[in-house]
Every structure is written in structure tokens, then in C-alpha cells.
């Protein structure tokens, strides 16, 4: 196989896997937006907070240790125990559900019926608040995340492709695992929405609030459920990105990458988030490889996604799968 073609395929595959992770973050947005019309600016920070909490629990960190030490003059940092990954994930999930309940009860229940821009501003406030709490609770030093996910070059693929094509594909184990987990998560969520009783209630709330009320659906319960699911998605995204590059506060910026994905796929479509993520992932990497690096001096990965999203906004504002805005006169 000619080396250029092999490179291209490798880049394509890596792009697909990066795309799956983008899709995962976008999915969190879509879930909340569909059910409550809120664009959750805090989704990225939720991923960060989830990752911080998970890393903190695994290491047996004392939450708010700096604050406690400052007030009480003590010097405690760790509990001295080491929580196994699986249990830690469950505990973090409990925290995320509690967060969903608190957010719904304290913030959004009082803002029912408000303009979308007000709801959006509330999520901006939530993002800053959560970021601050995360810092106060767990500290801002970079943490390593290790939940036992395989990492490093996948030697089997490297050897097999080398023998078959004369070129060994460099694909990271972590990326493969992340893609599989993300795919399973997406399938699980779609099936939950389609077939279960709560999923049906969720779709009803996403469609028409009044009608959902008239068939006995509690809006508050569904909103807490949706925020919890978004929290779960955020946790998975946080684990993947955290394992890749450590748990650091720039993790919340991945939310920004989700915006082009949403513009491409539509704000209200789950398959749209997936397809959009894949397109952005592949497009980004291929563009950099084929055009960016050779002709434009490189570093196109930073802006390509946004440029693509801009083009979509001009020609197809509802995205590939979103609902077309038809005004009945």
C-alpha cells in the first residue's frame, strides 16, 4: 500500500475516534436541550467536575481540604484509602445525580417559562459556579486519571497492518476503548428513549410541555432525569478526556468543540450529534493532514470545525438532522 494512502487511512480512523468523543459531549447538550429548551453552557464544566470528583474519590482526597485547613488550621489532604475504580464511578454518579437534583430544584424550577436567553445565562452562571466549586473541592493541580483503561499503542493492529499493508497503523488502545464505550452509551441512550416508559415520558416532555402535563408526566422529574443522564454522559466524557490528557481545568473547553458538532447535526437530534461529531472529527484531522500541514502552515485543527459550522449556518441552519423552522402563517 502506498504510504500516502496508508497515512490517510490512519488519519481517517483517528479522526473517527476523536469524532466519537466529540459526539459524546454534544450528546449531553442535546439531551438537555430537547427536554427543556435549555442550552447547557455548563456541560463542559460538568465533565470537568465529574472527572475531578472521580479522581478525587479514587485517590481518597478530602474534599474542600484547602478550605478546611485554612479555617481549622489542620493539615489533612487524603483519607489514606484507595477506592477501586468501579465503586468510585458509582459514587461519582451519585454526586452527579445529586447535582442534577440541586440544579433543577434551586435554579431551573424558578425559571420555568422564561425566555431561552435567560435560561442560557443561568447555565453560564452555573458553569462558573461549578468550576469554582470544583477548584475549591479538589484543588486545581493536574490530576492523573486511571480507571484501568488500556493505554498506549495497540501492537496487534500495528503488527497486523504492517504485515498486510507494509505500514503499521498507529492506533491508541485508549481511543479504541473510548469509541466502543461511547458507541455503547449512545445505543443505550437511544434505546432508553425509544422503548422505556421514562424514555417515552422524556420524548413527550421534549415535544410539548402542555401535552406532557395533560398525560400525567411530572416535568420536574423528567428534567432531573435528563440532567442526570447528561451528567452521566459528562462523566464518561470526563473519564475519556481525563485519561487522555490528565484532569486539568482546560477540560471544560471541550464543550466549545461540541458547538460546531451541534451546528452540524442539529440541536435536537441524537443521531445528529453522532454524525456531526464523526464529520467534525474526521474532517478536522483529514483537513489538517491533506491541506493544512502541506499548504497552510499547519494548526488548522483549531479553526476548521468552526469554519465548517459557519458554512452550515449559512446554508442549512437547522443542521443535518435538526427540525426545520417552518412558520405557519
Amino acid at each position: 500500500m502506498p504510504e500516502q494512502l496508508a497515512f490517510t487511512i490512519e488519519v481517517f480512523l483517528n479522526g473517527l475516534m476523536a469524532g466519537v468523543l466529540y459526539a459524546l459531549v454534544a450528546l449531553g447538550f442535546v439531551l438537555i436541550y430537547k427536554a427543556s429548551g435549555i442550552f447547557n453552557y455548563a456541560q463542559g464544566v460538568m465533565a470537568l467536575f465529574a472527572a475531578l470528583t472521580l479522581a478525587g474519590i479514587i485517590d481518597g482526597q478530602v474534599p474542600f481540604s484547602h478550605l478546611i485547613n485554612a479555617i481549622l488550621g489542620t493539615d489533612i489532604h487524603h483519607f489514606g484509602w484507595h477506592v477501586p475504580a468501579f465503586l468510585a464511578i458509582l459514587l461519582t454518579m451519585v454526586v452527579m445525580i445529586a447535582l442534577a437534583y440541586a440544579v433543577q430544584r434551586l435554579v431551573f424550577r424558578h425559571l420555568v417559562g422564561q425566555e431561552p436567553i435567560i435560561l442560557f445565562m443561568a447555565t453560564i452562571g452555573l458553569a462558573y459556579f461549578l468550576e469554582g466549586v470544583g477548584d475549591l473541592m479538589w484543588g486545581s493541580d493536574i490530576k492523573s486519571m486511571d480507571v484501568g483503561l488500556p493505554q498506549g499503542l495497540n501492537t496487534w493492529i500495528d503488527d497486523t497492518t504492517f504485515n498486510a499493508f507494509g505500514y503499521g497503523f498507529f492506533i491508541d488502545n485508549l481511543d479504541i476503548v473510548a469509541s466502543i464505550i461511547a458507541a455503547l452509551l449512545v445505543i443505550g441512550l437511544v434505546m432508553f428513549a425509544q422503548y422505556t416508559k421514562q424514555g417515552r415520558a422524556m420524548r413527550a416532555v421534549a415535544d410539548d410541555h402542555q401535552a406532557a402535563l395533560s398525560v400525567g408526566v411530572s416535568l420536574n422529574f423528567i428534567w432531573i432525569l435528563v440532567w442526570s443522564l447528561a451528567g452521566f454522559v459528562a462523566l464518561v466524557a470526563g473519564i475519556m478526556w481525563g485519561t487522555k490528557s490528565g484532569v486539568q481545568f482546560s477540560l471544560s473547553l471541550i464543550a466549545l468543540k461540541a458547538l460546531p458538532v451541534l451546528m452540524l447535526g442539529g440541536f435536537t437530534s441524537i443521531p445528529g450529534a453522532i454524525v456531526g461529531g464523526l464529520i467534525i472529527g474526521v474532517g478536522e484531522k483529514l483537513f489538517e493532514f491533506l491541506i493544512g500541514a502541506p499548504f497552510l502552515g499547519g494548526a488548522t485543527e483549531n479553526w476548521f470545525a468552526y469554519m465548517l459550522a459557519l458554512i452550515f449556518l449559512v446554508f442549512r441552519p437547522q443542521g443535518l438532522f435538526g427540525e426545520k423552522i417552518i412558520e405557519r402563517v
Binding site: 422505556t196 424514555g199 402542555q210 400525567g216
Partner: protein
């Protein structure tokens, strides 16, 4: 007048029971506007009660008070013999009151079958744990409820469009699907807000037949808002007439038809 507290049997043999819902001195205001002014009436078990009146009389507002979407500033709603505390619309629905909407509030993104299945939500009790596993309790409940939904779809003769997304249906069919969804909840009281609006004669006959069948077969108490006088006279056992938020008539169709105030309201006589 003979004592009808415990119910009576109509001329065509239907059993009308005691009072199941009562509005006591309901007053509803929107800012300075009084949409409903001190209105009281009752609804008996198993009867078809029509609420009629000129446009803007406050009929839909009344229905919204009954279904919990509006909270009256004054007055009480009594349901099944006890005073109903202020509750959210979904809690009212869970108590056995189902409704349709004047401007159709279907779940446009779902199929007809899915919409009817949402009507079954108040009857489905399995928790999230069992639902996530699916096999076992949840699946059995889904199958049982699906059976009920299909029966209602058969009853209203919409089998052919079971899987069609409702956004693609005609207005008349959408109204029928909304009726199906309300019926799916197996309600004690069915509230219909202008179920025949925008229909031609044939569609109205079909809808009337369905409403009568529902009342006949399931004994469902029905309160409906309707403009077509012919329909009201034919279908209803008793009528409440509203005008400018006040009650100007309450009785059987023939009693109401001969009421001078009602005639004035519809023909438009100058008020002093």
C-alpha cells in the same frame, strides 16, 4: 323536582350517577380581566355535560381550571366528594381526568401509536430500575398496556395510520388521535375542548358517534365545549351556558334552548 342525588336513568336507559365534580363559586382573573365570574355548576357521574357560549365567554378557561392548568383566585373545585387542593396539571391527570386541547397538543414528533401509548403513562407503574433491565416486569407491563392502546385505536378506527407520524395527519384525524390518547388513560372524567372544530358534517357525525360510544361503553363522564348547537342538543344530558364569564343557563338542552338570556347572548341583544 324529584330528588336526583343518587342518580337516575335517562330516557334511553343510560345510568347517570351522583355528582362527581363540582365547581363552587369559581372566579378567575388575568390581571384586571375577570375571565370567570363566580360560576358554580356540577357534573354527574356518567353524563355528557356541554359547556356552551359565545366566543370569549370563558369556556376554555373553565376547562383549564378543571384540568389544573389555571388556578382560580376564588372558589373551590370538588372532586369525588372532597375539596381538591391546588395541584399541578400532571397531578390532576394522575387523578383520572384526561383532556383534549382546542388547538391540538399532540406529540408531533411521534407516531399515532406512540401518542396513544403516552396516554397510558399514568397506568404504568414499573420504576426505572426494572425499565432499564427491560426483560421481565417492564416488558410485561408494556405488552399489557400496548393491548389497551391497540383496542382504543381499533375503537376509534385509526388502525390504518398507527405508525404515521402525527405531524403528517389531517386536522380531523389529529383530533381523533388526541381523543384516543385521552381515552387511553381510562379516565373517570374526559374533558373535550371543541372536539368538532373545523370538521365537516360527516366527520362531526363520526366524532359524535365516538363520543356517545365512549360514554355508553365505558360509562366515562364527559364534559365538552362545543359551538355546534345541533351537536350539543343531540349529545348532551345537561348544558351550562356561559357569557362574558358568567353563567347564564344551566339545565337540560331543551330547558336551555328556551332560556331568553341564552337566546339574547347568541343573537346579540344590547345590554343596558
Amino acid at each position: 323536582m324529584k330528588d336526583m342525588t343518587d342518580g337516575y336513568v335517562t330516557a334511553d336507559g343510560r345510568q347517570i350517577g351522583p355528582v362527581v365534580m363540582e365547581m363552587k363559586n369559581i372566579t378567575l382573573r388575568f390581571g384586571g380581566v375577570e375571565a370567570i365570574k363566580d360560576i358554580s355548576f356540577d357534573i354527574r357521574q356518567g353524563e355528557i355535560r356541554a359547556i356552551i357560549g359565545p366566543n370569549g365567554a370563558g369556556k376554555s378557561s373553565m376547562l383549564n381550571v378543571i384540568s389544573g392548568f389555571y388556578v382560580p383566585q376564588e372558589g373551590e373545585v370538588w372532586y369525588k366528594g372532597s375539596r381538591r387542593p391546588t395541584m399541578k396539571p400532571f397531578e390532576v391527570a394522575q387523578q383520572g381526568i384526561a383532556r383534549t386541547f382546542q388547538n391540538i397538543a399532540l406529540f408531533e414528533g411521534m407516531s399515532v401509536l406512540d401518542n396513544v401509548m403516552t396516554g397510558r403513562l399514568t397506568n404504568m407503574k414499573t420504576g426505572m430500575f426494572w425499565q432499564s433491565i427491560w426483560k421481565g416486569k417492564a416488558e410485561r407491563e408494556e405488552t399489557a398496556n400496548r393491548e389497551v392502546a391497540e383496542k382504543i385505536i381499533d375503537f376509534l378506527e385509526i388502525q390504518a395510520i398507527r405508525k404515521t407520524p402525527v405531524s403528517r395527519l389531517s386536522y380531523g384525524l389529529k383530533k381523533r388521535v388526541e381523543l384516543a390518547r385521552a381515552l387511553a388513560a381510562e379516565p373517570s372524567i374526559l374533558l373535550l375542548d371543541e372536539p368538532m372544530a373545523g370538521m365537516n358534517v360527516e366527520e362531526k357525525e363520526d366524532m359524535s358517534r365516538f363520543i356517545l360510544d365512549v360514554n355508553d361503553e365505558f360509562g366515562t363522564t364527559i364534559a365538552l365545549i362545543e359551538h355546534d348547537m345541533g351537536v350539543v342538543m343531540d349529545l348532551s344530558d345537561r348544558v351550562v351556558v356561559m357569557d362574558y364569564g358568567k353563567k347564564i343557563g344551566d339545565g337540560t338542552p331543551s330547558e336551555v334552548r328556551n332560556n331568553q338570556d341564552v337566546i339574547d347572548a347568541y343573537l346579540g341583544v344590547a345590554h343596558d
